[in-house]
Symmetry: C2
Subunit: 425 residues, 2 copies
């Protein structure tokens, strides 16, 4: 629980958690959906009965955070409230209501040898999750890992340690209520930073690491991990308005993708506009963005049409502003748009606005991003909007899970073979 532990203590503590998680994972693999759902419901009941304790623990974290001068945005992420606790409880019921991915068998086919071959969806095993100040991630992560049949080790931010400990008590009690092993969910009690270093370097005990938080955390974890990392890096998202675009759709999408929320990874950062329609649309767009106080930064051709705005510099094309700032570039057709996205984009989410069948198909096929859209706002790139029912994060990896990651991303598939005594000749 405290930084006076020597590094070897941290190492042996984390090894102990790892061994326990690995052991438990083989029990969880065989847990029924009914048992997992009962545990989720029991956790919800425990949370509901612990509102006071949760708020008290959280207040203590908040006091410490205020004393150490945390900024308002971080304090807001750290804070629990009656409403946030309600949302956590509701979240548990939602996860319980999702279909269990474990055990589904696809494509069972008979081969010429007579064996039947298929693939069965199974848990990954042990998942390590590393996150920052939001204590509700503790519950979200625990519920998704449990529902997908995985044991998990959760390492939250030290600023949320009392809140996380209080939530962990509810989780563990809920598991016990439902007869599942308490070590299905283990919250790392040591706030020593070395604990993260250990967690990401135990391939014998941990199958995958999911870091959730700022870019520097994710980069550090990805660089040092000895196990696969499902990671989310930049979201430099584009909307390309093609000459054939419907004017109303173009305006609505370009404005919504930028202004519906500024701090999210699927927010528009660079608007590309086809030269033939730039003269008509840019002034209208500029007026709409002005209402939202979005600062525009344009290429030379954009500035000819919108003389007042700032010039975009090279760095603007690859900037993830996460703020009311938008880069705009006039391009000559879809090839130039795709080339721009390929050069400067982050392969997260990119959209075309177009009425052309052929260009829409080309954009879908050729843009190499985790989400590629036609005539829809980039803000739809989200596990809930996609119907995954829940989201542990958005992956910018190409392998395993790409884009929003739901329960299925926490599982894998093994081959199963059903025979009648077949041998190989």
């Amino acid at each position: 629980m405290s930084p006076q532990f020597a590094t070897t203590d941290v190492a042996s503590y984390m090894q102990q958690l790892g061994r326990e998680a690995r052991r438990t994972s083989s029990q969880l693999r065989r847990a029924t959906s009914a048992a997992k759902n009962a545990a989720l419901a029991a956790m919800a009941a425990r949370l509901a009965a612990s509102r006071e304790a949760l708020l008290t623990a959280n207040e203590s974290d908040l006091e410490r955070a205020r004393a150490s001068g945390l900024d308002a945005a971080l304090l807001d992420r750290l804070a629990l409230s009656e409403a946030r606790i309600e949302a956590m409880i509701e979240g548990l019921h939602q996860v319980a209501a999702l279909p269990d991915p474990v055990g589904a068998i696809d494509d069972l086919r008979t081969r010429p040898s007579g064996i039947q071959v298929g693939q069965m969806r199974v848990p990954l095993g042990v998942i390590g999750i590393i996150y920052e100040s939001r204590p509700n991630v503790t519950l979200e992560a625990a519920s998704l890992c449990l529902k997908s049949g995985n044991a998990c080790i959760l390492r939250g931010g030290s600023e949320a340690r009392e809140s996380n400990a209080a939530i962990a008590e509810c989780i563990v009690a809920g598991l016990a209520d439902a007869g599942l092993p308490e070590s299905a969910v283990q919250v790392v009690a040591m706030t020593d930073r070395a604990a993260v270093g250990e967690l990401i370097a135990m391939p014998e005990y941990v199958d995958v690491i999911i870091p959730r938080g700022g870019k520097s955390l994710i980069e550090r974890v990805a660089r040092d991990a000895k196990v696969p990392v499902i990671k989310h890096l930049d979201g430099v998202c584009h909307v390309y308005i093609d000459a054939s675009a419907d004017r109303d759709k173009a305006l609505a999408i370009a404005v919504n993708a930028k202004t519906q929320r500024y701090g999210t990874c699927n927010t528009l950062e660079t608007l590309l506009i086809d030269a033939p329609v730039a003269g008509e649309l840019l002034p209208e767009l500029a007026a709409a963005y002005a209402e939202h106080r979005v600062e525009l930064r344009g290429c030379e051709r954009t500035r000819e049409l919108l003389p007042g705005i700032k010039a975009a510099e090279e760095a603007d094309w690859s900037a993830e502003y996460l703020a009311p700032v938008l880069a705009i570039r006039v391009v000559d057709g879809i090839d130039a748009a795709i080339a721009h996205i390929e050069r400067y984009g982050s392969h997260h989410t990119d959209a075309i606005v177009s009425e052309s069948y052929t260009l829409s198909r080309r954009f879908l096929a050729e843009v190499d991003s985790s989400s590629v859209m036609v005539n829809a706002s980039t803000r739809f790139a989200d596990g809930f909007e996609y119907g995954l029912g829940a989201e542990i994060g958005i992956s910018t990896n190409k392998l395993h899970a790409r884009g929003p990651v739901g329960l299925e991303g926490l599982t894998t598939r093994k081959y199963i073979v059903l025979g009648d005594g077949q041998i190989r000749e």
Copy 2:
């Protein structure tokens, strides 16, 4: 081409290959199946016209290898022959005949917002393949990467360098014949070992590394790589003969899984036998194994039934013999069998022989291996037997591709969203 290059030369050479591969990968992403198949056919024609040149280049590699004292097994892997060249040509036609995985769209569904969301199968991008002495891997790897729309960088063993260069000439000529970029397949000409170090540490240019070869190569690559590695480690495979097993199936499977080939990763290494049938079956099995000159190493209970055999030591339970040696253990029922597999196995391929519906289902669900079988020989764990049509390797990873990896394992899926102007409220 030679070890006198300084390390910086190797680095800039590999960076150059990487940049070129990345550039080419966006052209390959949009290549039609027809163009890719035409290139495969053209490569086959080029190979057919180059038999002499291939055999001459190979003879020169073989001479050098003999002079440096390579053993007979390695010389055999290195050697080309008319028959092996025929097999390479035939392999190209087989890959051309496989369905193209790229562009398939799954599960396009309409969401409450009105957007349609689906997943489109797309190439990974750039694949680096590192292998040892067999020159035909050059062609196999190139054909599978091309068919799946990926650019590739191939690094073969230095002992095969002239053979690989001759094969590379046919590949590049075939690509040009079909109008595809020659840099779709790049064979690393530098035999400097540092080239491997560079290849596995260029995440900006290489999306995944597939090492094919001995365990030490794979472990080294996996340890040092800065990009995901699709790897194949141990194959410590089990057959568990349950008390309910059909006698004939049990004998056939246990003998076939061990003796059909000794050096393959899906070969049986430890036989587990349920106590009630051990007395009846073990003597019959021992007689069958004796015919194949398989050395048996047994637990105490096995040795009571087969007094002449050697005692298995602890290390035998996790040994991958790749040889006519078999460890045998008498266990008490399926729980003990699964516990043994979990403790000592390598999660590769494990089979139960049983007539029990319930125990078969339990074994399938609970054994956490890339292939889990009922009443079939472990030797079936193979891309061709599973109907993948081709196999780039067998993955012991849990994420992305698990088990035999065919064309689909060289692709990923991106989300596509089709809208009519939808924005998020």
